[in-house]
Point group: C2
């Protein structure tokens, strides 16, 4: 008998009929002799409906009250789901964040889990009940409701799998698993059988939106085996696990891209010590997260500083940076929204030279100009003109041997 944690996202529980399909799947798994804790998101569309209601009041709803509002979405899901399981003749209990209890800090809207109690969960499991838990929500030290931010239900699932020492945490979604790249761009993308936590983290943060990055960090920290798979098929998906020797044999596991960034360059900055801090302090204070930063070699005591931010922060950041540029005596500030970031990811590149060179050559062969480069131990990212994104992804996918050769080239 294994203890399995399953998480179903908003599209998987988007209607009563879809919930019934999920319930059948859960019951089957239970009949195979497993103990089940099922984490549910809000029904697709619910959260948007609630946000719209809040939007009728103000553009900046009180964060505490917004969490009270939004957490009703998951509450509706688990109540309906438990009714379905019950009406099918199986014993079940729904549990809210405060009932579990999922204890968090007080950062409304993006709270972090501090502790998950196990007493109530274990009591219900011991009584052979299926347990349906509301994802995304927790309770702070003042007994106030918090929410964990976008993708928070993934984090709830992984955290519960961790504290219950579950055999596996299954993340059900509308894709079959994690692919070597976006199949919409590259039809020859392959589903990966397994991927390491670190690779998954890079994939997640680089725009392959299968799992929320924080939940992967959590899984890595507590060594929770994750199985990303489809709610609509029985096919095996992708295991997200600790790194194995096997994984290192593969140079590159995947190609990711992100069209949601914009580039800002501060031209001819006097290259004094502390100049970087002078530029980036006010940006940070404006609540903007900077992704890549590149500073060129100094020439005549002047240097160029280039960095990327998300497109939604672009105008705000340009304003801040123009003020700073005046202060520090830079020549000018350039902005460019028509860029994208293409990355190759793989734990194998740690032990193999020449991976970066292959990437650069491939882009060069396609006449794609590289605007910025950034590297980490297991990934290389290049900023390019946005219009070349698809071409770059396909070329890199092919050159690193990721193509599914069983498929005909389209």
């Amino acid at each position: 008998m294994a203890l399995i944690v399953q998480k179903y996202g908003g599209t998987s529980v988007g209607s009563v009929d879809k919930m019934k399909a999920v319930a059948k799947r859960v019951i089957e798994c239970s009949q195979e002799g497993n103990q089940l804790v099922v984490i549910l998101s809000a029904m697709a569309g619910q959260t948007d409906r609630l946000i719209q209601l809040a939007g009728e009041i103000t553009d900046h709803p009180d964060p505490r009250e917004l969490d009270v509002l939004l957490s009703t979405g998951e509450q509706v899901s688990i109540a309906l789901f438990a009714m379905i399981i019950k009406s099918m003749g199986y014993d079940v209990r729904s549990l809210l964040g405060f009932q579990v209890a999922v204890l968090t800090d007080r950062l409304y809207g993006k709270a972090r889990i501090r502790k998950v109690e196990t007493a109530r969960l274990k009591r219900e499991l011991k009584r052979n009940r299926i347990v349906a838990v509301a994802g995304f929500q927790g309770l702070d030290s003042h007994s106030d409701i918090t929410t964990l931010g976008r993708g928070g239900s993934d984090t709830t699932a992984v955290a519960i799998a961790a504290v219950l020492n579950a055999e596996v945490c299954e993340i059900y979604t509308d894709v079959n698993g994690v692919y070597t790249t976006d199949p919409h761009i590259c039809p020859k993308a392959r589903k990966l059988d397994a991927i390491s936590y670190d690779e998954m983290l890079e994939m997640a943060s680089l725009g392959a939106r299968v799992m929320e990055i924080r939940s992967v960090e959590f899984a890595k920290k507590y060594n929770v085996s994750i199985h990303v798979r489809s709610s609509f098929s029985k096919e095996r998906g992708t295991m997200v696990v600790a790194e194995t020797m096997d994984m290192e044999k593969v140079l590159v596991s995947g190609v990711a891209y992100n069209k949601d960034e914009a580039r800002i360059t501060v031209k001819k900055v006097p290259d004094n010590p502390g100049i970087a801090s002078q530029i980036f302090k006010p940006i940070g204070e404006a609540g903007v997260v900077v992704d890549m930063i590149v500073q060129n070699t100094s020439e005549d005591g002047l240097t160029d500083v280039t960095f990327t931010v998300s497109k939604s922060d672009f105008y705000n950041t340009m304003k801040v940076v123009r003020d700073v540029a005046l202060e520090i005596g830079a020549e000018k500030v350039l902005g460019d929204e028509d860029i994208s970031k293409v990355s190759i990811i793989g734990v194998g590149m740690r032990s193999h030279a020449g991976v970066a060179q292959t990437m650069f050559e491939t882009l060069f062969r396609e006449n794609i100009n590289i605007l910025m480069i950034s590297t980490s131990e297991i990934k290389i990212s290049c900023v390019i003109e946005e219009k070349y994104t698809e071409l770059a992804v396909r070329s890199l996918h092919k050159v690193f041997g990721l193509h599914n050769e069983k498929l005909q080239e389209r």
Copy 2:
């Protein structure tokens, strides 16, 4: 500085705009130097929408899970309401049943309040915050969510007013107060300035649906002053209070009616001891609540037993009673759905003779046949043919001096 508890029903908070009007009213009252605890119902239509979702699953949803589902309605209300207050620049906290905490028994769907904690409420009030509390919901001894049944928000409000020793519990509704009778039937109905708990209980149970009967019982038990008034005007409404000497001067305070009953007669029952129990035991076991019961004087060892049930229980009860009639050797069972019950209510009738006589004479003068009579200390009810309901109400209203003579007779 007074502590005031206010309760707003579903129509008063039926949209964001209506909530804004309520918020303004609450803030004004707060600016007058009062501490405020505001109890809200679910937005009109919300609860029905949720029940419909559950109905897509089964006709008999699991009661525990139904409460988890339904309690989201009030949660949405208090969150939006608190956002509004906050956006208007005032400090506020929303509190759910479990946060207050409103502790109940485990009777899902119709839980009874056992205790209301005051620590959290007092802490928020001490910080000069307006407190918005979700009505209708509580927490049982297992930390599971319960709901208090129809009109439960009234009970929440009265219970909180009781434990906080509030100066008054204001029940805001879509009428101006409690009337001497239904103004739709009798345009000369007068708004009452004050009514005793006992009279209000009779009014509520007899079909004048202004407040839920359980909340009035609660108010009586803990001597909570209630002010029933309109959300849409500043006019003084009706105070529901402990009986005063003044009240006894009035013979009759109001005329109520109920068209929702049906009459069943068991003819020629052998008049043995225990016969009533033989008839009413199976009815009770079928979950049917019997209202009036009349047993005629025995003649030749045979008697007639007549009683009323709500129309929705009529067919079910007829079936049960026909079986019983066979068993006990009664002649036959008669049923009549075309009846109504008209009642006069007033604490004054305790000390005045002749009130019943006046009622019977009035009905007789209008040629209305009385089918059944039932009396208590402060009310007299007559069952009549349904078609005479309006005529009976108007005649009794006039004869007992309840007409508002400032109005022209229509």
